[in-house]
């Protein structure tokens, strides 16, 4: 259905609509919200990785001057054991509640235990120290393979493994084991001339958004709750708060403020129900903010994992079989992204004989949350380095290997569905023909690596309303919070339909009472699905405008044409009006026009990318320096190419951080020891070169302009690409992330 034509707005680079507010400091983020009579809330967190709560005494805190309320898990209503839809993933409501305020046990250091509302933040902090919690400290289990052992400390004594659909009879930390299979694995490996099997470990990493979580809640005596906050999805906040506090969704209004990064980490709620509970107790608005340490220790990172991949290929480069074993840390409650890892691990390739086993395992770490293509990066680190080893053994260029083995439209993936059309070969060719790949890399301890990354993308639900203004502009109301320029990308799709400039659209991200249901800004879906809804809303406006023109000109609507921004009649009475001219005459033809569009598109169109990186390894320090970086990606159609490039560059750099520096470092008590931006080191400007982002456009047939989501894919390839480059540089295959100086020196046998 993708139209192929010269667009007037789509593909251009206008100034984003929210840009001025954001460069002047005027944009209001969640923590910037102020209101009269505001109280300030702070949260007491578990100092232990694993402990039973024997008692909580809040009396001294309640008596502290300036304190207005204290809440604990006892203040929760009883809820049913059921699954809530979080937009990008789902969770058990009791687990959600228990994660917000611990009931019987604390399951990780940083687990929320109690909260205080006071007249100012410092008073609230003082009061936290007056809450007396008695713990019975238990042994923690931190690593996935340790947690899978028999006799490991159990997080949930009543948890039984879901073993491929059957409940096991013994308690375990393994929440589930699933398997995907196709073809004949033994036959496939028999046909191989070369078989490579390796095992890999990755550590817990955090999304690292710069803005900590925040929430201000006001509960009115009529039962109406309002929450102002930063979130990736106002409607999922409404849903979760409603479930956790057992309030009807219609009584919860969520006002999304500007959001300072999310990357998947601002979907699950932590302090929003707490702000609400404190407001219920005090009758006042309560603002709760997290500190940076709270964010690291108390919010969902992405899992550490153990991955084993075995692949076989013929000497002329055909993959004959592939097997993967994926064990992922879910954190304190079930729900790691191992499922997504399983469908991404081999999905770029045609693999007729394959088996993938996935294990979802609880450990004493924060409940994991989505992080940009959740699960795929862990899996690709393994699969894409095994492929590099195969290429080396058979003497084949790794890009030619990828072109040869690329999955074609209709090829069946190991987890069942057929591969949709996606520009894998095109991205590999773009990398192959790029000056970077053509340039020789010289010098000692230097190497070049490549890897690809695949993400299926998501569609999900969006709503958009468009109001026509008499001066020929439109206001566009949407439910998708704007984290990276989506107001512009969505507005531009409506502008294209109506033949008006992007600047003639005023986009607004509305609260949950003011716009139709909209899923989270996540799953790379906003430019795709909310853009689709905007397209539909604009089509609705167009049709209504055609009817108005027909009325004005006293012709049939069928005789009015709209092309290149101009309405014209075609039945002999030559009349013409552009959008602006007709908008000025709405009053005489029936009054206001409101266009509506909803979307739940089922063909999001996967996105795939191929990254090329040059590194230099310092043999004395083990430090890996990125010398040059090029990332290609199929964007389908880039609505605003600058922000598509930005997604590719930013994702690549998050992947570089994951590859080289980032990890939660734990001591033997299961305590994270590096919960600050000084010690959890995300990349700085000085660590990096420019990132060359190459947009490839193979239109997605499931979108009117051919859009594919682009946000998540770029994080997947970097760790594998860098590991492959490090191998070329120093002859050592790194099998652990991050490839920090210490790990590199160790692998080199120097320490």
């Amino acid at each position: 259905m993708a139209e192929k034509k010269d667009y007037k707005v789509v593909g251009t680079r206008p100034i984003r609509h929210d840009g001025l507010d954001k460069v002047t400091g005027r944009a209001l983020y969640g923590a910037d919200f102020q209101t009269v009579g505001l109280l300030h809330g702070r949260v007491l967190r578990s100092p232990h990785a694993h402990a039973r709560i024997k008692s909580i005494d809040t009396s001294r805190a309640e008596a502290h001057p300036g304190v207005r309320a204290v809440v604990t898990a006892k203040d929760f209503p009883a809820v049913e054991d059921k699954i809530a839809d979080l937009g990008e993933g789902a969770a058990n409501v009791k687990d959600l509640q228990d994660n917000v305020l611990a009931g019987e046990k604390v399951l990780y250091k940083g687990h929320q235990v109690a909260a205080v509302a006071a007249i100012d933040p410092h008073t609230a902090e003082e009061a936290l120290e007056l809450i007396d919690v008695e713990y019975d400290v238990l042994d923690p289990v931190i690593k996935v393979r340790d947690a899978m052992q028999e006799g490991a400390p159990l997080l949930h004594e009543d948890m039984r493994t879901d073993e491929m659909g059957e409940k096991s009879d013994k308690p375990s930390n393994i929440a589930s084991h699933f398997q995907h299979k196709q073809g004949n694995l033994d036959k496939g490996f028999d046909e191989a001339d070369v078989v490579v099997e390796q095992e890999y470990t990755t550590e817990t990493v955090h999304q690292g958004y710069i803005e900590p979580h925040n929430a201000t809640a006001l509960y009115n005596p009529d039962g109406q709750l309002t929450i102002w906050c930063s979130t990736q999805g106002a409607f999922t906040v409404r849903e979760q708060v409603s479930e956790i506090l057992d309030i009807p969704v219609s009584k919860v209004k969520v006002v999304p403020m500007e959001i300072g990064g999310g990357f998947g980490g601002k979907i699950q709620v932590y302090i929003k129900p707490i702000a609400a509970m404190l407001s219920m107790k005090t009758g006042k608005p309560v603002k709760v903010l997290m500190s940076r340490a709270d964010v690291f220790e108390g919010t969902g990172p992405t899992p550490g994992s153990y991955v084993r991949v075995k692949m076989g290929a013929t000497k002329d480069g055909r993959i004959t079989a592939a097997e993967a074993y994926l064990a992922f840390e879910a954190g304190a409650y079930p729900g790691s992204p191992v499922g997504a890892a399983a469908f991404c691990v081999f999905s770029p390739y045609k693999v007729e004989n394959a088996q993938v086993d996935g294990y979802d395992v609880v450990v004493n770490k924060p409940k994991t949350a989505a992080y940009r293509a959740p699960g795929a990066t862990n899996a690709a680190f393994a699969a894409e380095t095994v492929i590099d080893e195969i290429c080396e053994k058979i003497g084949m260029d790794p890009l030619e290997f990828r072109i040869l083995n690329s999955a074609k439209e209709g090829d069946i993936r190991v987890d069942g569905p057929p591969t949709p059309r996606v520009g894998f070969v095109e991205t590999v060719e773009a990398a192959r023909d790029h000056p970077h790949y053509l340039a020789p890399l010289e010098g000692e301890n230097r190497g070049r690596g490549v890897a690809s990354g695949y993400w299926p993308n998501f569609g999900m639900k969006s709503s958009v309303a468009i109001n026509v203004t008499s001066d020929g502009t439109i206001s566009l109301v949407e439910g998708s919070t704007d984290i990276g320029g989506t107001r512009a990308a969505v507005a531009m799709q409506a502008a294209e339909v109506l033949g008006i400039p992007a600047e003639s659209v005023t986009p607004t991200v509305a609260d949950t009472d003011s716009v139709g249901y909209t899923d989270v800004t996540g799953g790379s879906r906003t430019a795709f699905a909310t853009g689709y809804a905007a397209y539909e809303a604009a089509q609705d406006v167009k049709q209504q405008m055609i009817e108005r023109a027909a009325k004005l000109w006293e012709v049939d609507a069928g005789d009015v044409q709209f092309a290149d921004g101009v309405f014209s009649s075609v039945n002999g009475k030559e009349q013409e009006l552009d959008f602006k001219g007709l908008a000025a005459r709405l009053d005489e033809t029936g009054g206001p026009i409101v266009g509506r569009g909803t979307a739940d598109p089922n063909q999001p169109g996967p996105s795939i990318g191929l990254h090329v990186v040059d590194v230099e390894v310092d043999p004395d320090t083990g430090k890996v320096q990125i010398l040059r970086y090029t990332a290609t990606q199929d964007a389908g159609k880039a609505i605003h190419p600058s922000y598509v490039e930005g997604q590719i560059q930013g994702g690549a750099v998050q992947g570089i951080g994951w590859a080289l520096n980032e990890e939660y470092i734990y001591n033997e008590k299961g305590e994270m020891t590096n919960a600050s931006f000084l010690d959890y080191r995300i990349p700085t400007s000085l660590d990096l070169p420019m990132i060359d982002a190459i947009i490839v456009e193979v239109p997605n047939p499931g979108h009117p302009y051919g859009v594919r989501g682009v946000g998540e894919t770029p994080i997947i390839a970097p760790p594998a690409a860098i590991a492959n480059a490090v191998y070329r540089a120093i002859g050592i295959r790194m099998k652990e992330l991050p490839m920090s100086p210490g790990r590199v020196l160790k692998a080199m046998g120097k320490i």
């Binding site: 460069v23 923590a31 690292g208 930005g646 700085t684």
Partner: protein
């Protein structure tokens, strides 16, 4: 002893008086007392630069300065950068270069870039990267931010030479 300190200072060229607790940081004073929320809290311990402001010509993290220390000093914040009818060239350059995504780090980066260009109008790419290494951005990968500062340097230095 009074629980609050009386401070007289200059913010964005205007005389300002306020009361603050001795324990309140400049960032808290800006945000909670004066409602200048352009400076953001990302870490509250000097690692992210989201609260960058210029104090007597020197780039500082406002989370590491006490509010009481502002007495008699002169402070520049993001709120004072634009003229009523015109953005500062660095602000324009950030918009033109799409040098922001979520925007939470943007005020800090713009103040840091201003402090750089005030003292080094023609920085190299390395100098820009070195100077901005105290400001963390998680969205952009820095590419477009560095280009925006390069663009702004060209604009401001050509304005000076013209």
């Amino acid at each position: 002893m009074p629980s609050k300190v009386h401070v007289q200072t200059t913010i964005n060229g205007e005389a300002v008086e306020y009361l603050c607790e001795p324990r309140q940081s400049l960032l808290e004073v800006l945000r909670d007392v004066l409602h200048l929320t352009g400076a953001k809290e990302g870490c509250n311990n000097g690692n992210c630069g989201a609260c960058s402001v210029i104090l007597d010509g020197c780039l500082v993290n406002s989370c590491l300065v006490l509010g009481a220390e502002l007495e008699g000093k002169s402070l520049e914040t993001i709120e004072g950068l634009a003229e009523p009818d015109q953005l500062h060239p660095i602000q324009d350059a950030f918009l033109e270069n799409a040098a922001l995504q979520c925007g939470i780090c943007t005020p800090g980066f713009i103040m840091a870039a201003k402090a750089l260009l005030d003292q080094n109008p023609n920085p190299t790419e390395y100098e820009i990267r070195y100077w901005l290494a105290g400001n963390l951005c998680r969205c952009t990968g820095y590419d477009k931010i560095v280009r925006a500062v390069q663009d702004a340097a060209q604009t401001t230095s050509s304005e000076v030479s013209a």
